[in-house]
Every structure is written in structure tokens, then in C-alpha cells.
Subunit: 377 residues, 2 copies
């Protein structure tokens, strides 16, 4: 096993662009990442995407004339490109390829103008259990168990929009007040509109290489897991068991504690997701995720900054692109290039992504990645 | 790099089962493969599928309570599970996992009752260039170049249906005459109905392990490539360039010639596909694929048996399951368990799968795998 490094990253604009094709979105991030890495060739491509049609990998890349090198397309719902990044990292560090391009992409707005519909072929989808409803159930269960306040829940959105307002790559770059969050339209009680990620189109790319590279950020560790059907019998809210298991594996592998990580980009598709995730990652005690955000500990200047980029809530959530967007944000942090979102002295960062199906009840994926700047300062 | 072996294989019934869910189809092949390998646990699962929805991996496996281990879902059109098998093989031989389950699956009949529709968002799909039309164009170009006769083209179907009639795993188990093939309804001139693979549902699974196993069949080599947009400027018919490049890489890696391979399971979604593929694999000279099948060289008793299982034309083509169905057939041959389809003394076999998009013009994938029985006889 040899070390693998991220040599370059790039993103397209994130937003709603129903008239922009997937290959065009992909070209934007690929060209940016290749330019960032100052490279013109790769040995293979791994691509994460959810809603593309048959043969989407070569098709999404068609405008780049990339045909020839192996292309592997991975689907794991929201964690698609997180898993693509992990599979590509393994391929590079085991000597299969010297340099790999990883691409995540999604064109949602042209397909789902009114939100992502449930799959009526599934019992849960038939019953209307779309993702906002499932997260709302988790939120209500959590509130009942632990006394989380609606204000604490909303504070996740306030914090992430405050960060996103400083991030030129975010889809929504406007800070919002606690009142605005709590009084925005109710989507699935207790989750209001500003506590739900938007529909987004976009792509994000990264170049992974085994070569020494002046910008190289070490891929220090990663794990993936699948998990749980919604486990009605678990003492924990949905998401906790899977994320904590995968994260613990990563901490154990690296021999580090959560306090030795300088920033976290995590899956906050809904505010309750970040609350549960901060606990699953070991940043807060179980039941204390609300107090954690309220205390400012996860703010840009806190002891454990969470989603300094603005997270999915503000930065947007083009499903297949999300994981690599998170990787991009962490890499820029570790290169001290995160501008107004910069976490001072960041040397090690974590990406965490959950990927549930349209109906989460049927199972889901989680990928966790740790990146390090181990160059001399 | 340590050797990886196929320890067990299994398939569901192949056919049109619009009322049977994907998890049910998957359970059939997984249980068969795990029983064949005499195993009850695996360390990870790679799954190939094309038309499942978001999060299809964990969802397709939901009835097996497999959640927990890493699940990676790969989409590469018809080559989806061929690529899943290749990625899983790499993971096992590099020590990432000890034992991996690979699953391919597809439920087409409930989605495409009248055939797979073109994607109207693509220029080619909008113009009606569905796969039968694209293969027909390739066939006409080939006929024009090389003087292939319509009878030779039809002989591929006669041969494969003759083989399929002996295969209990085939969707269509009836031999057909040359007249029947040539007089079946025209789908896309010159391809008649019996020269086109059917719509199929099904799943196929294999267990790959690094352990010594009494049934172990060595995964001797593999390659994948992506290729070509339809290259109008190529002197070759569509498919030739990509398949020959990937196959040559495999032969070179293994230091063998095509004559040292005892049987071939190749992508004959349409008869012209097998003609071109036999040339690309080096079994016949360019332009001689028609004479090759006419000579009987690719028959069950020929020097290079091609599709002794009946191929996609007879065995069926549940897209995501096809690659692992081909792997299953080769493994059974190498274990001398192929019954009436058995190729005498088979010790080494090849799988070749092409994966084009709905519109092939945008690029496609090819995976080639060589399996060997290297146990003492």
C-alpha cells in the first residue's frame, strides 16, 4: 500500500440549471480539477451519479473525449461520489492506477421540478414516506427522547447558512436568522423549508495520484458501510448506528480521536441529520447534539467546526456530486485556500456522507474519509 | 497480489416476471451462490444493476439482511456486473476483503413492456437510434465491407439457440432453424426478431474468495476499458476497436493466445455483435466472422466454442445480471458441470461483455475476464 494524494479539485457552479446538460456540468468541474492538478491525463475514471440513465459514466464524460480509459460508475444515493472516491483511492494506493479522476455529478432540476418523488413501487414510497418525512420522524423521535428544542434544531441551519454566505461555491449565499428559519414554510413537522437542502444541479471532481505532487493532500483513511434498514428496535435515532460504526472504524485505523480533526464536512441534508451526525462522529454525547450546536462548538471558530462550507443546506445537494463537493471543501481548507470560510490552521479534515434510497427504510450507505496536509509548513 | 478464486455461483430463473420484485430475484441467485460456495458470510458486496432507482444496492439486498457490510453498486449498462466482478476481484486480490459476494440483477419486464425506449434527451435517442437500430447500422456497414451473407448472420442465432436448448438456465430452450431465424419478423433490417436478445428479468451471483476452496476457479486475468464514441472514421465496425484493445491487453498480461482458451461467453445481444466480437477476440480474421460461424468453429464441438450456454440470444439478457450469468456459465464449464452444454476438457474460459448506453454513440464499456481451473485433475 502506497500513499495516495488529492492533487487537484474542482466544482461546477451549484444551482438549478434545468437547461444545462450533465456533460456540460461535468466538463466544468473536470477541467477545473485537472487544471488545479496541472495534469492532462489520467489512467482511469470513477464517477458517482444517481439519476443518470444507462451507461451514464461514458455519456456524462462524452464532451471530454475521455473514452478509452476504464470508467467505473458507482451509485450509492447521496453517497455516490464519496464511495467513488473511496474505490478510486484504493485503486491508486494498491498500484492499479497511477492517477485517477473522480467525478460526481447530478442534473436534478430538469427531472424533479417539484421535488424528488417517492418510488410508488416500494411500500414506504407508496405510503408517502419521502426523505423529508423520514427525517422528520427521526427528528420527532429525537425530540421526544432527548428534549432537543426546535430552536436548537433551527440553529444548525443558521450556522450553515452563515458559513455558506462566505463561500463562493455555495448555491445559497445568504445568512438567515433563527426567526427566518423557524418561520419558513413547514415541510415535514418539525422541519421547515430552511432546514431542508435544496434541489441542486452540479458536479465536483478530484484528481487522486500516487505521485509526489506540490499540492498533494494525503488520503489518510476511509471506510464505507451499509446499514441498517430503519431499525425500529434500535435505542438510537436513524443514522446514528451506521455513521458511528463507520467513523469508529476510521478513528481506530488512524489511532486518533475526533478532537484531532480540525474540521468536518458532514451530511446535513436536513438539520436533524447534522445533530445526529455530530453525536455519531463523537463530537457530542448522545442527546447533546442540540446543546453542541447552541454552544458554538461547531461554528467556524469553535473547537470542532462542522460544515464550514455551508453544508448541503446552503452549498446545495446535487446528489451524485455531494461527496466530491465535500472533499473539495476539505482539500481547500487543508491548503489554506478556503477564503472567508477558512478554519485557522486546518491540517486534518473529515468527510462524512450518508446515502439513503428514495425510501431510506430499505437500507443505505455511509462513507467517511479523512484527509491530511502532511507537508512541512 | 494474491490469487482470487470463484468459490460459488448461482442464478435465478431468467425470463419475464413482471410481478416478481428485484429483491426476490436477487435472493434466489445469492442463496444459490452462497450454498454453492458453502459459505454464510461475506466481507463486502459489489452489485451490478442498470435500471434500479436511487440506493438500489442495499434495496435489492434488503430481503437478505445483508446490511452492515460495504455495498458498492456499479452501473455500466450491459456490462454492469462484469465490471462489478472485476472491481470485486481487485479488492480481494489486494487484501481489502477476504471474501466478496458479487451480484448482478435486473427487473426489465415490469418497466419496459414494449422494449427499452430511447432517451429522448439525447440527440441519438431523439432520432430513434435505439440499440437494435445501431446494431443494424453496424451490420449493414459490415455486410457492405466484407460480404457477410444474411445466412451467416442468422447462423449465429441458430447455433446459440441450439446450445441454449440444452441449458436449463436459458430463458428460451428451443432450437430454431435457419429458415425460422431469417423469416422471423424484421426488427431493424437486417436483424430479425430471432437475431435480437429478449427482454429479461433475473439475477446472477458469484462468491469470490482469497481462501483455498475445494471448488475454487482461479480468476486468472481481467481488463476493462471504455470506448469509443461511435467512431465514424474507424476502418472497423462499431465494437471492434474497444473489444480488441481490451482483449489484447488480457492476452498480453497472461501470455496466451486465443487458441489457449477453451470456451468463450461473449456479448451477442444481436447476431452481428457475436460476428464482430469473434474477430475482435482474435478467433477469426477481420471480415471472416461469418465464415467462422458457418464453419462450425464456434460450435459446441468446434475449436473455439462461443456461447455454449446459448448466449444472450437464448439464455436471455437481464442487463445488470448478464456479466455474472456469463461468469456462472464459464465456472460451471470449468468445473465440468455444464451438462449437455459441456465443452469437453474445458480448463480455461473467457467472459466478454459490452455495455453501451441506451444510445451507444455516447460511449460504452467493455470488460473481459479469464477464468481457469488450475486444480490437479
Amino acid at each position: 500500500m502506497r500513499p495516495a494524494h488529492v492533487a487537484g479539485v474542482g466544482v461546477s457552479e451549484f444551482g438549478k440549471f434545468p437547461d444545462v446538460s450533465l456533460p456540460t456540468l461535468v466538463a466544468d468541474s473536470v477541467q477545473a480539477a485537472m487544471a488545479d492538478a496541472d495534469m492532462s491525463n489520467v489512467d482511469a475514471i470513477y464517477l458517482g451519479n444517481v439519476y443518470g440513465s444507462s451507461g451514464i459514466g461514458p455519456r456524462a464524460l462524452s464532451s471530454l473525449h475521455a473514452a478509452g480509459v476504464p470508467i467505473v460508475t458507482i451509485e450509492a444515493a447521496c453517497a455516490s461520489s464519496t464511495l467513488a472516491f473511496i474505490e478510486a483511492s484504493w485503486a491508486v494506493s494498491t498500484g492499479r492506477y497511477e492517477t485517477v479522476l473522480v467525478v460526481g455529478c447530478e442534473q436534478l432540476s430538469s427531472r424533479f421540478s417539484g421535488g424528488i418523488r417517492p418510488n410508488s413501487a416500494d411500500p414506504e414510497g407508496h405510503a408517502g414516506l419521502v426523505l423529508p418525512a423520514l427525517y422528520a420522524m427521526a427528528a420527532n423521535r429525537y425530540i421526544e427522547y432527548y428534549g432537543l428544542t426546535h430552536e436548537q434544531l433551527a440553529m444548525v441551519s443558521v450556522k450553515n447558512h452563515e458559513n455558506g454566505a462566505k463561500n463562493p461555491r455555495a448555491q445559497y449565499r445568504r445568512a438567515v436568522t433563527l426567526d427566518e428559519v423557524m418561520n419558513s414554510p413547514m415541510i415535514a413537522d418539525p422541519l421547515t423549508l430552511l432546514q431542508c437542502c435544496p434541489i441542486s444541479d452540479g458536479s465536483a471532481s478530484a484528481v487522486i495520484t500516487a505521485r509526489d505532487h506540490p499540492k498533494g493532500i494525503l488520503i489518510a483513511g476511509y471506510k464505507l458501510g451499509s446499514g441498517g434498514l430503519w431499525d425500529y428496535a434500535s435505542p438510537h435515532v436513524w443514522g446514528y448506528d451506521l455513521v458511528s460504526r463507520v467513523a469508529l472504524d476510521v478513528y481506530r485505523d488512524l489511532g486518533i480521536t475526533p478532537l484531532e480533526i480540525d474540521l468536518f464536512e458532514v451530511h446535513d441534508a436536513f438539520t436533524i441529520g447534522e445533530i445526529v451526525t455530530t453525536e455519531a462522529l463523537g463530537l457530542a454525547e448522545i442527546g447533546c447534539g442540540g446543546m453542541f450546536v447552541e454552544s458554538g462548538a461547531s461554528g467556524l471558530d469553535g473547537k470542532s467546526p462542522v460544515n464550514p462550507s455551508g453544508g448541503l443546506l446552503s452549498k446545495g445537494h446535487p446528489l451524485g456530486a455531494t461527496g466530491l463537493s465535500q472533499v473539495t471543501e476539505v482539500v481547500l481548507q487543508l491548503r489554506d485556500e478556503a477564503g472567508d470560510c477558512q478554519v485557522d490552521g486546518a491540517r486534518r479534515g473529515m468527510v462524512e456522507t450518508m446515502g439513503g434510497g428514495v425510501s431510506m427504510v430499505d437500507g443505505n450507505a455511509c462513507g467517511v474519509i479523512v484527509l491530511e496536509n502532511n507537508r512541512a509548513q
